[in-house]
Subunit: 346 residues, 2 copies
């Protein structure tokens, strides 16, 4: 009931165009086959482990039956729910956004690492260090209202395309994982994303892609600053200061901060998920810890254990994680052998 | 499926006793009258404002209709959902817990402000500064696993009694606000607590008292540290370092961090809620901002505007808040005039 104009970066037209863009995103999460659960999974141990866990936690006669409020399942995103190669989608967004930011800050053309990104030299960009990428993230993900950021991400997602598949990034969601999310929710589980990626970024599309509302997305999060427009309206401006680094030990710490309960099931694919899986495995009752193995170069990518555990920058899978997973009996999901279909568009 | 023993402070007996204690707490939130909504509210403008807002946001023919995912309502806790006088319940917990902590730290008997608390001198305790209370909070709310903390709070809640009402603190929930929570949820709203109090503390009882699960409680939150027991199980230890001060501007910042959407309705009672109400009021469509006025010395307490706006330590209601509320048309809820009944036990 407030008719005063919004501050710069948040025009009504922009907000409306965001809504239009979001409406056009594919509602993959709803495109589930009815009938028997997990239709895109082959009848192998991974599928059986999921079905056994759900049965054990929901059958009232089971000694491991869980009351609905304890049915918490957490999922890493990049490499677990959608493609993370050749580079995290959010990093691609930051690289694409930098020229826009540089229009306001011409000095960027003289300063590294911005100069390299603006040069468009792909090989040099691929060699940027993690510290460089952090500087680029700080420059491109902060300084605007949260509404302006959401609108810009939605706009980018509607047009950006994955270099290999030549499709929107939002198409590159794993169909078997969508079926897993649906099966868990159909059995009273509350599903959460716990991502090392930016919380605000993932929240823009999480409900439409995965059926997971923004408040059930935990990710790396920056601080915001409360402020007023000239007309006295209240806004939050994204700040270049990290509040939660949602990787490694940051994952269980973020889970406690945002959920406050220990999950009984957790799904990941890389070293950054190790502590989340350990945390979810500790405690009484049925516990499910699973790792997606990228061993399907034909349909997706092969890296990590499939490549002899090289130390890669995207989706690192350390020897320690591998050994612990084997020892503790975490269930591995082989994309190649366990999944009939990888993507919904196949 | 893990049979290794838990670390100190988390014996199975302790966890089981917590569950027993929690089960014994009154399930007030469910004790709602069926039939017409808000039965404990008098037919006055406050009740009408709630009914009008819900109708405007849920009637598909209304120009202010909200899709279910945008139906977010946030509630302050102390003084808005339950009694906050003569002192916040959590502060009482900290004071009660200090002697237990001092058993392990005998030096506390020589150090202020602990010495004052341990002396039991009520007048001196009442004069402790905010800084003193922060030191006491850091000493009593940190250093243990999150599970041990939850168990201790649950145990305390089962026996501690409010000095005036001589009842468990968990009885001192406002019946009309429970009806408001129920009415909103029955109309597709997701209800959140946004408290300046400790997030972990409130989460122990929020589901049972208010029907609000832990993950929908946002509060002041400390950091946790991921660690392993000797047998390799994973635990989080509460740290004496603040991550989110969920007061004033911290409330909208916390809302963005934990919910990621702007509420359309917000309810508070003191200066610490001002920014949350402003944030919820900014934007298109129907918006509801309400303040509970404590003007009922007979059934509850009279302070704030009812006492000429003195600067009190509990439930401060500044002149600025009062003026803004009047100017912006925030709806005031008079406990004395709007509520037929304050508590469920009346």
């Amino acid at each position: 009931m407030n008719a005063t104009p919004p501050p710069p970066g948040l025009s009504r037209r922009r907000v409306l165009s965001t809504i239009a863009v979001l409406s056009a995103l594919p509602t993959v999460a709803r495109a589930q086959a009815a009938g028997s659960p997990l239709p895109s999974w082959n009848d192998r141990p991974a599928k059986q482990a999921i079905l056994d866990f759900v049965r054990a936690t929901t059958d009232p006669a089971s000694p491991n039956h869980l009351p609905p409020e304890d049915r918490i399942a957490t999922f890493d995103q990049d490499g677990t729910l959608w493609v993370e190669h050749p580079i995290y989608t959010q990093v691609m967004y930051c690289l694409d956004r930098l020229p826009v930011v540089a229009e306001q800050k011409p000095e960027f053309t003289q300063v590294e690492p911005f100069r390299t990104v603006l040069s468009g030299n792909r090989e040099a960009i691929a060699r940027l260090s993690l510290r460089d990428l952090e500087k680029i993230a700080a420059a491109t993900l902060t300084g605007m209202t949260v509404e302006a950021f959401n609108a810009d991400v939605a706009k980018w997602l509607a047009t950006a395309r994955h270099p290999r598949y030549d499709r929107p990034y939002t198409d590159l969601v794993y169909q078997p994982m969508l079926e897993l999310l649906s099966h868990l929710r159909a059995n009273g589980f509350k599903t959460f994303i716990v991502t090392g990626g930016g919380q605000d970024f993932v929240r823009v599309y999480s409900e439409r892609l995965y059926g997971i509302p923004p408040e059930q997305v935990i990710g790396s999060a920056g601080m915001t600053k409360y402020t007023y427009s000239k007309t006295g309206e209240a806004f939050l401006i994204k700040q270049p200061k990290l509040l939660l680094n949602d990787n490694n030990a940051g994952k269980p710490e973020g889970i406690h901060l945002m959920i406050g309960r220990r999950p009984h099931a957790a799904f990941g694919n890389s070293t950054g998920d190790r502590e989340m899986l350990e945390y979810s495995r500790t405690g009484d009752g049925a516990r499910l810890a699973m790792l997606v193995l990228h061993d399907d170069a034909k349909r997706e990518y092969a890296y990590g254990p499939a490549q002899g555990l090289p130390d890669t920058r995207i989706g690192t899978f350390s020897r320690g994680l591998y050994d612990e997973a084997r020892k503790a009996g975490w269930t591995m999901i082989s994309m190649k052998n366990d999944w009939k279909r990888v993507f919904v568009f196949e």
